[in-house]
């Protein structure tokens, strides 16, 4: 596919890959600075009285005793802040028909999930604020709670929102070809219903904000643990009726985010409201129970899916009916329809599948809201597809590699549009499958599996292919009306010492964004990476941009830095030419020295150039003004997204007496285009895989039938620990994208996309001789023993 950057000369080796991240050095020495580490003078603390019910009418709220407690500064409810905060609605124009009621920072009249914030208390310390919560008296009228997906879908059941005719928030249908005809003529049909358990983000640093409102200038400074400072600047501006230039959002070190820290949360908006009300800085740090109750949840889906194939194993069609429970609101501003949308579009996406019918039903419930999180929708689409592919392979007596090789889209087909509507520039499925088979020594593993099975040991091998959505352009949010930038900006300057400082709008939450931006700048300028300093995460000190989410940091942010570096380099060569009275086209920059290309010898160092240009410009020609800094912006071009691809495999053992799964090995072969930093790419993949493994084996937000969250501590919500995780082997293919000058795609979702799917396939492979099939996740020992008929 011809992209706008097809003939761009690209670097494939980047400066400084062998150096540790400066941020890693800092954190290893205990020098991190997270929001909770910041203490401002005169700072107050906010805590929340939360709904003990999943669904209840608020009859009355008595806060008098709380207000009178010594040390309490302010107490407010939703009704008290309607004059300073306008409500929001989580809708986007490109999801026509999506509906969700208006929301305020606190429950207004009715609480719709267990843990929804109802009353805010602001006090001199968090402890006093929590003491005051005990003194609040709310009279409730409990209402029936809508908890399960079927419960929500039931036509005559109770409603989450009485103003709507049903609990349906959104419906979407996709059609490609003629799936009915394909199913009518298929040799083989497989079908199943998967129930995927609701998870949450569980960043180790909880959600945090200090809102510091200066009433004298109506200026708000927010120190906010967020991925998206510009989006939050816009939201604070509009919903608190402030002036955009008077709103500054600073994201210091962010202790994990994974997509969880880019949504609008009532508590954070209430902290801003509190600061505006009292004219003092107000700190909100969620405790862990608050995090479980009110961070976004994700991926509660019930998917009925069918696949039609020929007797030779060619996939003809899929029919998918996916229902997802999103809690009581579509989350602002990115909506809770996006996850299901992507899940539906990713069904069958690695394969030559001409016919498809998909239906998505997004349902309201009385549980915490769900929204976008790492690998949005991918695990649902990939798990469903790969489960059906394995069912078909078993039915056709085909090897899992063979059936996938037969069906993956091939080099002669690109560019192509998938059945779900995605445009793929160029992928490398065949190469990835070949690499994986060798990497895992597949035949040897099958032999070992067979041998152990003779001895009553049940091991399974699961493989699965995926595509991954990265580098989103304006089609993602902007066209839907969301004020979320798809372009990014970079400011870059030469310091007088010859060192480089850059300020860029993509942000860092541990991925290594700052290191990668420094690498790109160092590479395209021709300087040492240690001579590049990077500033991120401050709306007042960096150009406006989209920041970091949906695997856009390296691909889009890196391209922004690249064009800024090329522009600054051009300026520096011109300045050198003026100083030396030479020809700029004969010069280059290598290791911080301007060199003569012909002789490869240094003609002037950047530090000497800086000295002359900044301190002795009088020695330069009259009316010559050296341009020592540049700003460049970059807009993603071409296709709406740059897709990556890959395959994963799992090898595991199921103890059929206890139902416990022991992960033995895990492999990933993936293709993120040009690799900017191998170690950081691999660690993104490993971290992502473990999120996927947690989701498939352990993690589940458990609600009682009354809608009480039963898993609100880290002892009850089980996330992966080191002794449960395998080493993860990684290999790469490199298919650059021509849609960005840099040629790099994203990699943050790849690990999570298929890790769960291959474990499900491996467990079902292990249990195949026992006629047991798992279809509900997470794959707890209880579910495995139930499938085995043992309990």
């Amino acid at each position: 596919m011809s992209g706008p950057y097809e003939n761009t000369e690209r670097h494939t080796q980047f400066v400084g890959q062998d150096k540790p991240r400066r941020n890693a050095v800092r954190h290893a020495h205990g020098r991190g600075k997270f929001v909770d580490d910041i203490v401002l003078a005169n700072m107050a603390h906010i805590a929340f009285f939360r709904s003990p019910y999943a669904h209840a009418e608020i009859i009355s709220i008595d806060v008098e005793e709380a207000r009178n407690l010594l040390g309490v500064v302010d107490v407010f409810t939703a009704a008290d802040i309607t004059d300073i905060c306008t409500p929001w609605v989580g809708k986007l124009d490109h999801f026509p028909g999506l509906r969700s009621p208006e929301q305020l920072p606190l429950a207004n009249g009715r609480a719709r999930w267990n843990g929804e914030p109802v009353v805010a208390v602001v006090a001199e310390t968090r402890a006093i604020a929590e003491d005051a919560l005990e003194l609040i008296d709310v009279e409730w009228q409990e209402l029936p709670a809508i908890v399960g997906i079927d419960n929500s879908r039931s036509a005559d059941g109770p409603l989450v929102h009485p103003e709507y005719d049903s609990n349906v928030a959104f419906v979407m249908e996709l059609t490609a070809g003629d799936s009915k005809d394909a199913f009518a003529n298929a040799d083989v049909i497989v079908e199943d219903t998967l129930e995927l358990g609701r998870q949450t983000g569980l960043t180790l640093e909880p959600r945090s904000i200090i809102a510091d409102f200066d009433p004298s200038l109506r200026k708000l400074t927010a120190y906010h643990s967020t991925q998206t400072p510009y989006q939050m600047q816009d939201i604070f501006t509009r919903h608190f009726n402030l002036s955009e230039e008077n709103v500054r959002v600073i994201s210091p070190d962010v202790g994990g985010s994974f997509g969880m820290k880019l949504h609008v949360y009532g508590e954070e908006m209430a902290a801003v409201a509190a600061s505006i009300r009292i004219g003092r800085p107000v700190k909100f740090i969620a405790d862990r129970m608050e995090s479980f109750l009110s961070d976004i949840h994700l991926r509660e889906h019930k998917v009925h899916a069918r696949m039609a194939l020929t007797k030779d194993g060619d996939i003809l069609a899929m029919q998918v009916d996916d229902a997802t429970g999103i809690g009581p609101f579509s989350v602002y501003p990115r909506t809770s329809a996006m996850e299901g949308n992507q899940a539906l579009r990713l069904m069958g996406a690695p394969y030559k599948m001409p016919h498809y019918d998909g239906k998505l039903t997004v349902l309201f419930q009385n549980k915490a809201p769900t929204c976008q999180y790492r690998a949005v929708g991918h695990p649902i689409g990939v798990t469903t597809t790969e489960h059906l592919v394995d069912l078909a392979a078993k039915k056709l007596n085909m090897d899992p590699f063979e059936i996938r090789r037969r069906n993956v889209t091939t080099q002669d087909m690109y560019p192509l549009k998938t059945a779900g509507g995605y445009i793929l520039e160029r992928l490398s499925h065949e190469e990835c499958l070949d690499k994986l088979e060798k990497l895992m020594d597949y035949q040897a593993l099958r032999a070992e599996q067979a041998e152990l099975r003779e001895r009553g040991i049940y091991r399974g091998i699961g493989i699965g292919a995926f595509i991954e959505i990265t580098n989103p352009g304006p089609a993602f949010y902007g066209v839907g009306g969301a004020r979320i930038s798809s372009q990014d900006g970079c400011f870059m300057k030469l310091e007088p010492s010859g060192k480089i400082r850059i300020a860029v709008s993509v942000t860092e939450q541990g991925q290594g964004t700052e290191t990668v931006m420094a690498q790109v700048a160092a590479t395209y300028l021709g300087v040492d990476i240690d001579h590049v300093d990077v500033i991120t995460g401050d709306t007042e000190r960096t150009p406006y941009g989209g920041a970091t989410w949906a695997s856009r940091g390296a691909g889009i942010g890196g391209s922004t830095v690249m064009i800024a570096a090329l522009a600054l380099k051009e300026n520096l060569l011109e300045i050198a030419a003026v100083i030396l009275q030479g020809d700029a086209s004969k010069f280059d920059i290598v290791d911080g020295e301007i060199i003569d290309i012909a002789t490869k010898r240094s003609v002037i160092s950047l530090s000497e150039l800086g000295r002359i240009a900044y301190f002795r410009p009088d020695t330069l020609p009259a009316d010559y003004h050296p341009q020592l800094s540049v700003t460049r912006h970059y807009v993603p071009q071409g296709t709406p997204f740059d897709f990556t691809n890959g395959v994963q495999a799992s090898y595991l053992e199921v103890d059929v007496e206890t139902g416990i799964v022991k992960l033995l090995d895990h492999w990933v072969v993936e293709d993120c285009g040009i690799i900017l930093n191998r170690q950081l790419v691999d660690e993104q993949i490993r971290g992502g895989v473990v999120h996927g493994l947690g989701g498939i084996l352990f993690e589940e937000c458990l609600y009682s039938p009354e809608g009480q969250l039963m898993s609100a501590t880290m002892a009850d919500y089980l996330a992966p620990l080191a002794n449960e995780m395998p080493d993860i082997h990684i290999a790469h293919c490199e298919t650059p994208t021509n849609m960005t000058p840099l040629g790099a795609k994203g990699v943050g979702e790849a690990g999570t996309a298929a890790a769960g799917a291959v474990v499900l396939n491996a467990v079902n492979d292990a249990l195949h001789p026992l006629d047991a099939t798992l279809r509900t996740t997470p794959l707890t020992p209880e579910r495995i023993l139930t499938a085995l008929g043992k309990i």
């Binding site: 290893a28 180790l204 202790g255 994990g256 862990r288 992502g688 880290m714």
Partner: protein
């Protein structure tokens, strides 16, 4: 307002005095009253390990201990260990191997790692994984952490002169 009580204890090698209220946790005292913010609070339930500190030679959760229990104690936090070659090597290997991403779990993880190498000088990977399984990391998937600890334990490091 809460009553407060004067304590005297040793913190990162120095004798200090501090007034605390009876309900203040050790983690809150270290962070809010003594400015030692690398002791992170991830759960306040003793589950996550980000608040690990060493009290009288034992690695413990500072969120589960009241500060008022610290009278006469010897406390080391992840910001201490000045001149400790094992901690210096762990820090270097963690950074080089990218055994941390966001950095929130790192202080607690370093203390767990040091504790292991002190008691099991040449641990294998399983032993490392087992020992750090009281510490959550949500970013790395643990493999890089295991690598960094393994390298520290197995490289020729002269720990003889260490306390």
């Amino acid at each position: 307002m809460d009553p407060s009580y004067a304590l005297s204890f040793k913190l990162n090698g120095r004798q200090v005095k501090q007034e605390v209220s009876p309900r203040t946790s050790l983690a809150d005292m270290l962070r809010n009253q003594m400015g030692l913010t690398a002791t992170h609070i991830g759960c306040e339930q003793g589950a996550c390990g980000a608040c690990n500190v060493v009290v009288d030679g034992k690695t413990v959760r500072s969120c589960l201990i009241f500060a008022i229990q610290m009278e006469g104690a010897e406390i080391e936090t992840s910001q201490g260990f000045e001149g400790d070659p094992l901690m210096a090597t762990l820090r270097e290997n963690f950074a080089n191997r990218n055994a941390l991403q966001c950095g929130f779990c790192t202080g607690g993880m370093l203390l767990a790692a040091r504790d292991l190498i002190k008691t099991t000088p040449k641990p294998n990977r399983e032993e490392i994984r087992e020992h750090i399984s009281g510490n959550f990391c949500r970013c790395t998937g643990y493999e890089a952490i295991v690598d960094a600890i393994w390298k520290t334990a197995h490289e020729a490091l002269d720990l003889e002169g260490e306390k």
